[in-house]
Symmetry: C2
Subunit: 196 residues, 2 copies
Amino acid sequence: MSAIATNRKATFENLMQPWSVGIDVITGVMDKPDRTLVRRASDMKGYYRDHAALQKLIAAGDPVHYEVFEKELPEEYGHLLLCISKLYPGTVGDECFMTKGHYHTVAGTGEVYLCLRGEGYMIMKTEDGRTNEQKFAPSRMVYVPPFWAHRSVNTGDEPLISFCVYPADAGHNYGDIEKQGFPQKITRRDGRVEMR
Amino acid sequence: MSAIATNRKATFENLMQPWSVGIDVITGVMDKPDRTLVRRASDMKGYYRDHAALQKLIAAGDPVHYEVFEKELPEEYGHLLLCISKLYPGTVGDECFMTKGHYHTVAGTGEVYLCLRGEGYMIMKTEDGRTNEQKFAPSRMVYVPPFWAHRSVNTGDEPLISFCVYPADAGHNYGDIEKQGFPQKITRRDGRVEMR
């Protein structure tokens, strides 16, 4: 998950051997990932409106917010990075748990999310202020086209799990997100989900 | 499925709206594909050793051999093409049903195959004679690295179905395959599968 695009290409001299991995399409579990990115509540400071509620969550054990299970691959044009994204259920105040969200460093690269478990939304925005949302449900595939910043939001009671594929040279760019967030807020109160 | 790489890139001026599609991870069915590529027995002339057996199959109704269900996307760097590949079960003589197989026109691009149903192999080769095989089974993901020609082979009794993702500028190149095929042959006789 480098923030810097590499401008490298896959070469025949560095030929990779084919391989396979178990990705359970029912449970959403990747067999022996090479890397696991773990984001806890304390990694999400500034991302939710209700700072006091987040502090309370951190004080109560700082639970895992989301995990990304990855296979190690060269971050080069031609390869495809793939991962399982697992976002836990819950709220901070009334705001549903969400990922930080990111643009790609090579902004003109897209991403495929095949939802395997759970429910929620992919919320998206562009640098010039356009917005879009797509529903996540098992067996629903969301296409994030090039140039769209994207964030997953879990509106359900179980983990929201997706299988993701994107160009290996894309990189991650948190850009304006840490300061500005996304225009869309998704809340849940007494089981009722709202987007504004 | 153009044979020619486009050398185009996704641009912000041609910004695509996000979208989603149903891809049933149990049945392997894509909801309303934009295109369906259909290969019948008669499209496979020259690909199997037993020409007489293939002729017999063609005469007996020329059944569908495999289908590729696709979403329409610009064949440009930055986008990701995605499809469902559905290869029917059967044999031509004792050789298991298989796809034609292809290199990518931009040879240095890979592909991800997440198997949803059925059983079989991804057989692969490089232009300089290396070979590799990976087993297909539900919830098994095969990574085809850049530069590897790849062909699916169905060794089971039901359709072999995979969800595939690859760079949209990759293109398809049948290269030396139509004349030389792949070194690996997979046969099935009285239910017993063999690779040589």
